[in-house]
Symmetry: C2
Subunit: 263 residues, 2 copies
């Protein structure tokens, strides 16, 4: 059994042994957890440019040095990207074809791995400052919405920006903007607050992904760019082959959250 | 005639010669302009604590080292605080009794000078980033409002926080929060945005000080703590004797705005 005190290396080891195959939320407090995207080299250059052009929804924390590499030393010692996540999703031509706990049998020498920052890091920083995160209080998934904001396209990758929403009082939203601004590699500052329709959200109580949360009197919805954005771009691009993490089942890295702080 | 290119020292010299007796807005671009408060030593300790307890409306940039000092070397070389502002207001027992361009005849050995940051500095930083400041576009004074937020009292000094308001889109407000957070000595980040009634403002179109500005569709009012706050606290405290700058007629210091940036 993994505890909250388990180190990132222990967690990866338990994933590798297939003893842990589920959600990583709350594990290895203080360490960066990453969204993962694996693409063949033929699509990787475009995807890298997509991340570069859209750093708020697609903040690149690390990537493999060479196609075929199964380790990323800047993210984790002894990493085997093929085994060290709890669960993987396999896509062919944009279709989800399998969900499995080990991808060694699918590995190819042309595969490039991308690690993208995730909101767990900034939620931890907000909670440490005493702010309430409604989706955590209400024990549901954060509500996420497609917006009318278009990402900058790169090759075959394009699509709408997806945002996550956390309700806050204006004073807490100002504090959250300050804190999150220090962490551009985990989505950074919010991109909007207030009127949902200004970014193309027609009903705040009907998220496109995740669960609705209550918005109390005096609070405004605050919107962050969300890591589901690259997943939608990949779904629309339909690359021949793609592997991602299973939602919520992230790569736990050795990078302390504080190392991502600008200052 | 003073030009925009005039140095802070030239401006102070022209004030000393009584050639410049008016507004300092737009002069000496890039340098901190300061609100000034002069109080007898008997009241100065309480006022200093009031500033310490309420740093957002009363951000202390510098103060005289010893009672009676007429210079503040950390703010300006060769400063004579008795002559180097364009215009002064004299208060006795809380009543405005005179407005004059030189206070040498009123100087006492027990007077302590406080210099407080002003919004000119952060407005400059916002404009440099491409943001529009509505009161500047519309060529009026910034609208200011008494709020229901009480300052932390210190001795005889207490009162409501006064705020200034600048309308912005949410995206621009987020950027403004980031920029202003770097400058705590010139009021720092906004303290509120959105619903005026949440901070006790009943009619956004009826400011208590300054002029109303237009709020366009898609914009929200953004509120900053304002340097009128200590003026109200002094008016309510009714110290036997007090000298301030005349509104808009600030001390132009030698401190570059960028020197006040936290990072």
């Amino acid at each position: 059994m993994l505890t909250k005190q388990a180190s990132p290396a222990e967690i990866r080891q338990q994933c590798r042994l297939q003893n842990h195959t589920g959600n990583t939320s709350g594990l290895a407090a203080g360490y960066v957890q990453a969204n993962m995207v694996i693409l063949p080299k033929t699509d990787a250059a475009d995807f890298l440019q997509f991340c570069q052009l859209n750093p708020k929804p697609c903040p690149l924390v690390a990537m493999s040095s060479q196609p075929g590499d199964t380790g990323i030393i800047s993210a984790a010692v002894d990493l085997d990207i093929r085994t060290d996540l709890p669960s993987y999703r396999i896509f062919r031509h944009g279709e989800l074809v399998a969900e499995q706990t080990d991808i060694r049998g699918l590995w190819q020498d042309d595969l490039v791995t991308f690690l993208l920052g995730c909101s767990f890091s900034f939620e931890e920083a907000l909670i440490a400052d005493g702010l309430e995160i409604r989706n955590i209080t209400e024990q549901v998934n954060v509500p996420m919405y497609r917006t009318s904001i278009r990402c900058q396209p790169a090759g075959k990758f394009s699509g709408p920006m997806v945002v996550s929403m956390r309700p806050m009082t204006p004073a807490n939203a100002i504090r959250a903007i300050q804190i999150c601004s220090r962490f551009p590699q985990v989505h950074g500052a919010p991109i909007h607050f207030g009127d949902p329709s200004a970014i193309g959200i027609s009903d705040i109580n009907q998220p496109d992904f995740g669960d609705a949360v209550s918005i109390k009197p005096g609070e405004v919805p605050v919107f962050w760019a969300c890591g589901v954005t690259p997943q939608l771009a990949i779904a629309e691009a339909k690359p021949d082959f793609c592997i991602t993490h299973t939602p919520g089942c992230m790569l736990v890295t050795d990078i302390p959250n504080s190392k991502l702080a600008l200052f």
